[in-house]
């Protein structure tokens, strides 16, 4: 079964800190097909960014992949050495980071940075690369692209920088585009511009997109499928309609309930998820969400829940489904 563009199997990433091993990603499995947009949501520390950093081999010390397999386009990513990964990273997989100011080099013009990317990955001449770059800047909605090519990142506003970043990742026609909180650093009206841009690009380029965000609104706006992460594990996965209208996991349900919404009645109090976020240094023995879960069973505190299929392409990792499906919970 290698028809999926991207396959991640039981990925485990740990950070070896002086205080102990932090299991940032703890057995994550998913696949992604061409042309699909996958949203990964979760709170800070849920492992959503770390899981894709591993995919790009961009983990920073003291992080290390401790297990699992990543197959991209039929090739094993984790087995690649640093030269091999460089032919994939930036060419076949593009990445858009949260903060466009720190991801662009301040001492080179935008044009130089775009051309460098192209010249590294293709055998284009400088002239061709220049033309292609101008074309890309135009595609992402930057006016006067010829003039903009000669400017430095500090002469761009936040939204424009993010557009330039997107142009840069699209230069080599990537098969996979990873956007790690691309609009978190931007204002709402600029965020709306970037989201509209990404939606229009979806139709123009045929890349799969992974959208990492903590904002469920963005997910509902742009994604086809969603993965919900908690404490380094996938708790639920499904199509957006499944997740928003038929959430199966108590964490997803809680997350959706606790949001204040513009169309909701402001007089009722919100329904927060009680408790505090999990401490990754001291993960509980059973389900990581159990201490905060209002439907917690005895078994939840003792054993990791297996993944249950609750609908077509809709999975959830929770002991409650065992209760629903078999009427009783089997103790291992």
């Amino acid at each position: 079964m290698s028809e999926h563009l991207l396959e991640i199997e039981d990925l485990k990433v740990s950070f070896f800190t002086p205080a102990g091993e932090v299991k940032a990603v703890n057995g994550v499995t998913y696949s992604l097909d061409e042309g699909r947009v996958l949203g990964i949501v979760g709170e800070s520390g849920s492992g959503k960014s770390v899981s894709v950093s591993a995919l790009m081999q961009l983990l920073v010390f003291p992080g290390r992949v401790v297990g699992g397999k990543i197959t991209f386009d039929g090739r094993d990513i984790l087995a690649m050495n640093s030269e091999e990964i460089q032919t994939v990273r930036g060419k076949e997989i593009g990445m858009i980071f949260q903060d466009p100011m720190t991801s662009l080099n301040p001492v080179y013009t935008i044009g130089e940075q775009l051309i460098e990317t192209l010249r590294r990955h293709t055998d284009m001449s400088r002239k061709e690369a220049w033309n292609r770059s101008v074309e890309m800047l135009k595609l992402v909605g930057i006016n006067n692209p010829e003039q903009r090519m000669k400017q430095y990142p500090h002469e761009f506003s936040g939204g424009m920088r993010q557009r330039a970043m997107i142009a840069m990742t699209l230069l080599c026609n990537p098969k996979l585009l990873i956007a790690d909180e691309p609009t978190t650093a931007l204002d709402v009206t600029i965020q709306a511009q970037i989201l509209e841009l990404m939606k229009s690009l979806r139709e123009k380029i045929n890349a799969a997109i992974i959208m990492i965000t903590h904002d469920l609104g963005i997910v509902s706006d742009i994604c086809d499928e969603v993965i919900v992460m908690y404490a380094g594990r996938i708790v639920e996965r499904g199509l957006i309609d499944d997740i928003f209208y038929r959430p199966a996991h108590p964490y997803t349900q809680g997350l959706l309930r606790c949001l204040p919404r513009l169309d909701s009645d402001g007089s009722k109090p919100l329904e927060p998820i009680e408790g505090t976020p999990v401490d990754l240094l001291a993960l509980p023995k059973g389900c990581a969400f159990a201490p905060r879960c209002e439907k917690c069973l005895k078994v939840c505190l003792q054993h990791q829940p297996p993944v249950y299929e609750v609908g077509e392409g809709h999975t959830s990792a929770c002991w409650l489904h065992a209760l629903e499906q078999t009427g009783e919970v089997q103790e291992k």
Binding site: E43, S44, S157, G158, G159, M160, D187, V188, T189, I190, Q191, A192, Q193, L195, E196, H214, D215, L216, G217, I218, V219, S220, D221, I240, D241, F244, Y245, G254, L255, L256, C258, L259, P260, R261, L262, D263, S264, G266, P269, L270, E271, P272, I273, E274, T276, P277
Partner: protein
């Protein structure tokens, strides 16, 4: 409302000087430009806008953490623009955005919450002080075992609770909440919002609630002011603002929020604003929003619109709205 409001800001202006040396004049950032509003007792006034629009500066200026360049600040009808603030600090407090930066890492949580009590010398004995601190911690959902711990031992949400307990130590009538939940995770945000609303019901405090998340502001506020580039463009009660936004900027801001509901997202037609927020160093002439406004006319480019009352309790500064209503 016939009685005087608890708090009133009249034509507040705050300019900052940047750069400048022996040979060149400093440039002036017009951070807050003629902002007026009132807040009643026990009321929450929400202030929204994009980064750099001056909402935090308003919050700090009205507490006189910045001295206003001009304008008047009134508490209970009394002008406090030029007085010694110490006696008034008891009545006006602030909760900052970043709970990691606003708590002293070398002080225990008990001392942090107790510091306002010490400064204002409200407690007669050590026992009374400790009792009061405990009471405050209980109020925000913490307990006695937290008292001797240090901020680094707490999560973001708990730290924000400590911040709130500190702000409440002196029974203020009025609290500025400067993006108190922006740094917190979604599931924790709801806890803090509920707590702030409960405290208000119990103790009758008024809030100036500053945030860029419009969903949250709508939920917690009675009235909302929308700021753009240092000016209030629209003020209205929360429900009508969301049901019937009048100013083109408010409309765009509301339609820009992604709604966590796939059906709605599919139907939603966005008003996407072109371009970026102009620099407050050199704000546009006329209506400040004209560079991005889809309805801008020649008049908007030349003439700054007055703030007028378009409906009871609803003010708006826009030529188009005023022309349509025949005002």
């Amino acid at each position: 409302m016939s009685q005087a409001p608890l708090f009133e800001a009249r034509h507040i202006v705050k300019n900052f000087e940047v750069g400048g040396n022996l040979f060149s004049k400093p440039r002036i950032v017009h951070a807050v430009d003629d902002v007026s509003f009132t807040i009643g007792k026990g009321e929450t006034f929400g202030l929204v806008g994009e980064s750099g629009c001056g909402k935090s500066t308003v919050g700090r200026t009205i507490l006189r953490l910045h001295e206003p360049t001009s304008g008047q600040i009134l508490l209970d009808g009394e002008d406090i623009t030029h007085v010694n603030m110490r006696p008034y600090r008891k009545r006006m407090q602030i909760v900052f955005q970043d709970p990691y930066a606003s708590l002293d890492p070398r002080m225990t949580v008990g001392d942090i919450v107790g510091e306002p009590l010490d400064i204002q010398e409200v407690c007669k004995s050590r026992e009374e002080r400790n009792e009061r601190i405990l009471e405050l911690l209980n109020l925000v959902g913490l307990n006695s075992e937290h008292m001797n711990r240090y901020p680094h031992e707490f999560s973001g949400g708990q730290r924000q609770r400590v911040s709130i307990a500190r702000a409440m130590a002196l029974h203020p009538d009025f609290m500025v909440c400067d993006e108190p939940i922006s740094a917190l995770d979604v599931s924790i945000q709801a806890q803090v919002i509920n707590m702030l609303m409960e405290l208000q019901q119990k103790l009758g405090m008024a809030y100036l609630f500053i945030a860029h998340d419009l969903n949250v502001v709508r939920h917690i506020s009675h009235r909302v002011g929308v700021m753009y580039l240092g000016s209030l463009v629209e003020v209205c009660d929360a429900d009508s603002l969301y049901r019937n936004p009048m100013h083109p900027y408010t409309q765009a801001l509301l339609s820009a929020i992604p709604i966590p509901d796939p059906e709605v997202s599919r139907r939603q037609k966005r008003v996407v604003l072109e371009g970026d927020v102009p620099s407050p160093i050199n704000p546009p002439k006329g209506c400040k929003f004209h560079t991005r406004c889809p309805y801008a006319t020649e008049r908007c480019r030349q003439e700054r619109p007055e703030t007028v009352t378009v409906a009871p309790g609803h003010t708006c500064a826009c030529h188009k709205v005023q022309e349509e209503l025949g005002l």
